[in-house]
Structure formats: C-alpha cells, structure tokens
Symmetry: C2
DNA sequence: GTCGCCATACCGACCGGTCGGTGTCCAAAG
DNA sequence: CTTTGGACACCGACCGGTCGGTATGGCGAC
C-alpha cells in the first residue's frame, strides 16, 4: 500500500503509481462526465482516486478548481494543435480540412472532456468561466481566420458570415458526445473526414 | 379551472392569474436555464412562482417531474412542427430547407428550453431520460427521412451517411444557445436561412 | 363531511470545506 | 554518527448549512 521506492513528489513514477494530482484529475474527469459536476461529490472523487479529502484540498483550492484544471488542460492542447496545423505551408483548403478533421478526432478521443465542457461550463465560478471563455474565443478566432482567408481569395463563398460558419461547425463538434459511440461503424478519423468534407463543401461558392 | 374567487390574503393578485402549474413550469424553465437544474432549489422556484412547496408537490411528483414536463412540451411542439412541414407537397429541397430553418427559428425563440435540453438532460432519472431520448430519436429519424429521400433521387450526395449529416446539423442547432444573442445583427430567421443553406449546399453532390 | 387545494413546519441525508494531527524525509547542528 | 527541527504530503473526523421531500392541518366548495 505504502510506496516503498524513494520518489520525488509531483514527478511521474511507474505505471502503477501515478502522481496524486494527476490521479485526482483523471478520476474527476470520468465522474464529472458520467454524473455531472454537481452530482459528483468530492468524497466520490477521492475514493475513486484512492486518496482522502485532505489530499485533494492539499493540491486543489476547491472542487471548482478541479473542474477548471480539466478545462484548461483541454484548451491548451487543442489550441496548440490548431496552431500547428493552421500555420503550416500547405494549401488553405488542406489546412482547414486538417484542422477540422483533427478537432473532431481529438474531441472523440477525449469524449469525457467534451461532455464536461458542454454540461458543466455554467457551474464554474464567474471569473474562471470568463477565463475559459476568453481562451475558447481565441481558438475560434484562429479557426475563423482560416475561413476568412479563403473568402478573401475567392476560394470560399462570401455570402455567409465567417463567424456563423464557424459557430455552425463547432456546434456539430461539441455535440459529438451526444451520439458518437466507440465501437460503432465509424472510426474517429472517418467522422472527422466526413465533417471536414461537409464543412469544405458547404463553403464552396454557390452556383 | 380559473380560480378568480380565491385570492391569497398576503399577496396582491397582480396581473398574472395563470394557473399554478403553468406558472411553476414557466418560472422553473427560466431558473433552470439561468442557473442549471441542480443549482436551482425547489424553494427558489416556488418563490418565483408565488406559491409554496405544498402547491408544487401537489401538482408535480418531484423536482425531476418539473424538468420532464419542460422537455415533453418542447418535444411535442417541435415534432408537430416538423411533421407539418415535412409532409407538405412542396419539392423536397424546399421541405428540407423549411424544416431546417424552422427548427433554428424555434430554437432561438425558445433559447431557455434549448439550454436546459443541452445541460440538464443527464440529470433526469433514467426512465424519464429514456422516454425523452426515444421521442428525440423519432424526431431525428423523421428529419433523416428527408435526407434519405433526396439521396434516393440523386438530388443529394450519397457519399455521406444520412445520419452523420443529421447529427452534424443538429449539433449546430443545439448549440445556438451558446453564441446567439438577441439584439445582435442577425435575426432568428436569418440565422435559420443561413443554416439551411449551409446544410443544403453541404448535401450537393460533389464534383 | 369530505375532497381538492394549498400553507407551514420540519426531517434526514448529504455536501463542500476545515483543521488539528501524523508520518516521512532531509539538512543542518552538535 | 546522532540528534533535531521543520517543511511537505496527507489523513479523517467534524461542522455549518442546504436541499428534496413529507406530515399535518386548515379552508372553501359541494
């Protein structure tokens, strides 16, 4: 039960003994996604993670903090990924298609985070919610930049405001969790490619 | 049905003489949308509606019941509307466009219900949630029928599964509440027409 | 009288967060 | 080498408060 090895706290260890904060975050994510933030008690989280409340409140200021950290991690990762794809030197259509497909794949790979984002955002404290929204907004704006780039060159239709198109698309993405099931007929990448095709084709100039 | 004769002694009758169950549902909807289901106490609801807990538990079996009734009402209305549009004798593309635009407009007209649907579905008791899902499923299937009809005639592309397209579209619709604000530059109908265009154009056969 | 409608007082079950305490490790002092 | 002190990581009983739900009783209508 008690660890026999001498190991620095906060550092990852062997596969059987992950750091406490990480374990907490991991199990909290699962429980929040399954039962919702308010329905999940701190007691349940710490029991799942195999620690006690004392440990949790040692690392996190509040239950709210736990939720915020989950958001922040996902946002950082998605933003990093988008930036990497969007700033490559591939043709615009390919960059947009890759960005669209990738965000679908990463959303499916991490359906729990997606679900939490959808259902528990409004349960964050106002200031933390504001911070999350600001980050999310930056992400959307970067994505919208790609659409506007194509509209400027005439590759994409200009009769639809770019932000409407972006909101249209991300609505679909955020809702993957409500219908996608692992083990179904479609892989994450297949769904991503379908979604990217639908977006790109919806953006073709009319006529 | 109307109880004009019985007045509360402590409180002025005011202009709203609506029946108690209706008032409860109305205020519950607003509060659930604003604060979330779990964060709204029964006490708050009955105070907003100007009654007491006794009255509420006389008409509704539980707080859960209140949420269920809100869902059921919205679903009934949307299903009725879709059926009416889908079964007209207009050309297929027009029927699908009208159905798409209408569901956007009605979702915007009733953003509160939309928000609740999005955030509080998983807080329903399992059996009630099952009932709601079943109804929702019927709605989607009717909508999907329109897409499949167009695929059969060759009007729509056949390289995308109809259910993927439908989930893609309804993801967007369900997420209207997270970005649409009244008083913005776009009217509900304008957004509806944009969304319908994007859907229809995404369905054009490729090439 | 009794039946629908509702007010009020109250209950038991949590829940988030706190706080005094414990075990362990390490570094400096003796 | 041994002692000591104290920083860090964690434990778990406990507290104030809230919540959904209920028991009971009153009151007007028939």
């Amino acid at each position: 039960m008690t660890r026999a090895s001498t190991r620095k706290p906060g550092e990852a260890a062997g596969d059987d003994q992950a750091a406490v904060p990480r374990r907490l975050l991991e199990h909290a994510t699962k429980l929040f996604a399954k039962k919702g933030f308010d329905r999940t008690s701190v007691q349940e989280i710490v029991e799942a993670a195999g620690v006690t409340k004392g440990a949790m409140y040692h690392y996190f200021g509040s239950k709210d903090d736990l939720l915020y950290e989950i958001y922040a991690r996902v946002l950082r990762e998605q933003t990093r990924q988008l930036e990497s794809v969007a700033s490559s030197d591939a043709p615009l259509r390919e960059r947009l298609a890759a960005a669209a497909s990738d965000v679908v794949v990463s959303s499916i790979d991490n359906l729990d985070d997606n679900t939490i984002f959808l259902q528990s955002m409004h349960q964050l404290s106002p200031d933390k919610r504001k911070a999350v929204r600001a980050e999310r907004r930056k992400y959307h704006e970067r994505f919208r930049g790609l659409v506007e780039e194509g509209q400027a060159t005439g590759e994409f239709r200009t009769d639809k405001p770019a932000d409407v198109v972006v909101d249209f698309f991300f609505g679909s993405v955020h809702h993957l969790g409500s219908w996608y099931r692992r083990g179904g007929t479609l892989s994450a990448r297949q769904v991503g490619d379908h979604y990217a095709d639908l977006l790109l084709d919806a953006l073709r100039p009319p006529g």
